[in-house]
C-alpha cells in the first residue's frame, strides 16, 4: 500500500466536488499511476457528465496536465509511473482566459 497526495488545480477541483487536496492510499506493492487515475475517476466523480472532464478515449483528457512531484509526467513514465510513498500528483486544467 502506498500513500500519495493529490491536488487539483486550474479549476479541476470542480470536477471533483470542489475538493482541491486529497490524501489517498493505493493498494498493492508497486501501484502505477494509472491505478490512482482509475480510483479517482471511479470513486471521486459523483456527476456522470463530469467524467468527460477528466477521462476521454481511455486516458486523461486533452488539456489536462499531470505532474508527478512538480514534474511533467512526460518526463516520467506517464500512466506507468510507479507510485512512491509521499508522492504529490497534481492534475491541472489548461486555462484559456486572457
Amino acid at each position: 500500500m502506498v500513500k500519495v497526495k493529490v491536488e487539483f488545480l486550474g479549476g479541476l477541483d470542480q470536477t471533483f466536488n470542489g475538493i482541491k487536496n486529497l490524501k489517498l492510499e493505493i493498494d498493492g506493492e508497486e501501484p502505477k499511476l494509472i491505478e490512482l487515475i482509475n480510483k479517482l475517476s471511479n470513486e471521486y466523480i459523483s456527476n456522470e457528465k463530469d467524467f468527460e472532464m477528466f477521462i476521454q478515449e481511455g486516458t486523461i483528457r486533452p488539456g489536462i496536465l499531470v505532474l508527478i512531484n512538480d514534474t511533467d509526467w512526460e518526463l516520467e513514465d506517464k500512466e506507468d509511473y510507479i507510485l512512491d510513498d509521499g508522492d504529490l500528483i497534481s492534475f491541472t486544467s489548461t486555462l484559456h482566459g486572457g
Binding site: 518526463l75 482566459g97 486572457g98
Partner: protein, 282 residues
C-alpha cells in the same frame, strides 16, 4: 546605441539591480521590438510595465473595442476608452507613460494569412489571448518566424505562464498535442475572473519578457529550462501561491519539427480546435 540623460534618470533604479544587468540590459531593452497580442486583462498589466521599463518598440494587436465589462480588470483602459479600439486606447495610455516608446497598432484579427508577416517585425511575442485557436496559431507562427513566445492564461482566480519556442524548448503543440474540446474550456466571459488575479499573471509575463530580452536566461550561467508557472490567487487561508513545474522539452514527434509557412497558411485552425465560435482575442 546609447542612453540619453532622461533615460538614465528614468531607468536608473532598475539598472541598479544586479540581476537586471546594468547598462547593457537597458540598451538591450531599448533595441527590442515586442508584439503583445491581446490588450485585455493580461495585456493591460504586461503592457504598462513593459512600456515603463524602456522597451524600444511595442506592437499592439487586438481587433476588439473596449466595453464597460472589461474595466474591472483591463487597467490600461479607462471609462473614456469605451467604444474605442483597445489598441487605440492602450496607445494613448502608453504614450503618456513613456514618450520614448514607439508603438505600432494592429487593430485587426490575427489569422493564419497575416500572422507571419506581422511577427517578422518583432523579436519577442506575448500571447495574452484567451482561446486555443489563437494560441495554436501564435505558437505555430513563432516556430516558422523563429521568435520566442511568452504565453499565459488566467480564469477566475488562477493563472498559468509558459515560455515557448525558446532555446530549443517546447512549442504549444509539444505540450498540448491535442486541443481541448470547446465544451471543456472555461473562459473569462463564462466563468469570470478576479481583476487583479489576471493582472498578476500579466505582470509575471512582463518580468519573464524582461528576463528574455536582457539575456538573464543564458547558456553560460543560467540556461533556460522548460517550466510552467502556476498561480493560485485564492488558496483558502494560505494566501496566494506561485509554483514552478518542470516541463517536457521539445518533442521529437511534434508537428513543430516540420512546420512551414505554407502549412500554416493552409491550416484551418478553427476546424482543428473544434466548432464553437469563440470571440477571438477578447
Amino acid at each position: 546605441m546609447e542612453l540619453t540623460n532622461e533615460e538614465y534618470s528614468r531607468y536608473g533604479r532598475q539598472m541598479q539591480v544586479p540581476e537586471f544587468g546594468s547598462l547593457n540590459s537597458q540598451i538591450n531593452l531599448k533595441n527590442s521590438k515586442i508584439l503583445v497580442i491581446g490588450c485585455g486583462g493580461l495585456g493591460s498589466s504586461a503592457l504598462l510595465y513593459l512600456a515603463s521599463s524602456g522597451i524600444g518598440k511595442i506592437g499592439l494587436l487586438d481587433h476588439d473595442k473596449v466595453e464597460i465589462s472589461n474595466l474591472h480588470r483591463q487597467i490600461i483602459h479607462d471609462s473614456n476608452s469605451i467604444g474605442l479600439y483597445k489598441t487605440e486606447s492602450a496607445f494613448k495610455r502608453l504614450k503618456l507613460i513613456n514618450p520614448n516608446l514607439t508603438i505600432i497598432k494592429h487593430s485587426i484579427m490575427l489569422d493564419n494569412l497575416n500572422s507571419i508577416e506581422i511577427f517578422n517585425n518583432y523579436d519577442l511575442i506575448l500571447d495574452c489571448t484567451d482561446n486555443p485557436i489563437t494560441k495554436y496559431l501564435i505558437s505555430d507562427t513563432c516556430i516558422v518566424t523563429n521568435k520566442p513566445l511568452v504565453s499565459a492564461s488566467s480564469v477566475k482566480t488562477d493563472g498559468q505562464l509558459i515560455i515557448l519556442n525558446y532555446q530549443n524548448g517546447p512549442c504549444y503543440r509539444c505540450i498540448h498535442p491535442k486541443p481541448t474540446k470547446p465544451e471543456n474550456i472555461a473562459t473569462c466571459s463564462d466563468d469570470g475572473v478576479i481583476g487583479p488575479c489576471v493582472g498578476l499573471v500579466g505582470v509575471l509575463m512582463s518580468i519573464e519578457s524582461i528576463k528574455i530580452l536582457t539575456n538573464y536566461y543564458n547558456l553560460n550561467n543560467n540556461p533556460y529550462k522548460p517550466i510552467m508557472l502556476m498561480y493560485s490567487g485564492y488558496n483558502d487561508n494560505n494566501g496566494q501561491s506561485i509554483k514552478s513545474f518542470k516541463m517536457r522539452g521539445k518533442q521529437s514527434d511534434c508537428i513543430c519539427n516540420k512546420l512551414t509557412k505554407e502549412i500554416i497558411k493552409s491550416t484551418n485552425y478553427l476546424q482543428f480546435c473544434g466548432s464553437i465560435n469563440y470571440n477571438i482575442l477578447n
